[in-house]
Amino acid sequence: MKLEDLKKIREQASKDMELRQKQARVKIVVGMGTSGIAAGARDVLKALLDEIAARNLTDVMVTQTGEKGLASHEPMIEVHEEGKDVVIYGNIDADKARKIIAEHIVNHNPVSEYVIEVK
């Protein structure tokens, strides 16, 4: 496997690829401050990326942010959807992150049991 193979991906990517990424429907922000990392934020981020790749979710983007000041609820993730309130999930692990992708992102039903704040 060579990096050069990325050219094939580029060629296969449809013309609307850049467009669809620029207009990402959902942005998921993972808290990656020291306390988040210590609490397992890396596994959460990896699980989110795995799901996005496996489900081919072209309109979902994952980014990271620093400390949020709610260290006791780490790992935390925020789901930003256009035209909707921001949903903040707390005490997330890899399994919960996968469930959030399936329920919230794909089926549009926020997983209320993990929600710590809506704003």
């Binding site: 496997m1 990096l3 050069e4 193979d5 990325l6 050219k7 991906i9 580029r10 296969q12 990517a13 690829m17 850049e18 990424q21 993972v30 990656m32 401050g33 020291t34 990392i37 210590a38 890396r42 981020l45 990896k46 990326l49 795995d50 996005i52 790749a53 496996a54 489900r55 081919n56 979710l57 072209t58 983007m61 994952v62 980014t63 990271q64 620093g66 400390e67 000041g69």
Partner: protein, 179 residues
């Protein structure tokens, strides 16, 4: 708390990104011959003045408002010194920051390196606007992972696209098994 070297790398890189870095260079060498684990992270973020640079190694200092304790750097320094190594931080305001950390490889308190593949993937994909250059080596193999090169090959296709995430996961799985 920070149970492996990769947790420290993730933490330091998060600091670099918060400091506005657009390029981050991560060097990790595990040498049995030199009995050393050597980690160097260099960024072109906003840097720190001398006074601040001295203070970040102090566990009771943080520039973040509302939080008085920044533990990441002091924990890394503590681990290095426990493991018969050293920790150096160099920074220049407006230019960037470099940390240079050395551990004795066979020291019993040295934490495991951790999952380097996942670490490289999550850092590069969740910070698409930052360029990363990873240089990972042992006594035999020298592995380079350069996101500028990757982005060049992708020619406009975002690095955080599902297809690319899948590709990079497999690529790292195949090439980063020596450390």
């Amino acid at each position: 708390m920070m149970d492996d070297i990769c947790a420290h790398i993730t933490d330091v890189v998060a600091n670099s990104v918060s400091a506005g870095a657009k390029k981050v260079f991560i060097f990790l060498e595990k040498s049995t011959i030199k009995n050393a684990l050597h980690l160097k992270i260099t960024d072109n973020g906003k840097g720190m003045d001398e006074e601040t640079a001295k203070k970040v190694v102090d566990p009771f200092f943080s520039t973040k408002t509302g939080r008085k304790v920044g533990l990441g750097i002091p924990l890394l320094k503590g681990t290095a010194e426990t493991c018969g190594g050293y920790f150096n931080l160099k920074s220049a305001l407006g230019e960037g920051t470099e940390i240079d950390v050395f551990f004795t490889l066979d020291h019993p308190d040295l934490p495991p390196i951790g999952n380097l593949k996942d670490t490289i993937l999550i850092l590069t994909v969740s910070n698409p606007e930052v360029d990363f250059l990873f240089n990972i080596k042992n006594d035999v193999i020298n592995f380079i992972f350069d996101t500028e090169e990757i982005k060049g090959l992708l020619d406009g296709v975002p690095i955080n696209s599902p297809e690319v995430i899948k590709f990079l996961t497999n690529y790292l799985d195949e090439h980063l098994n020596f450390i």
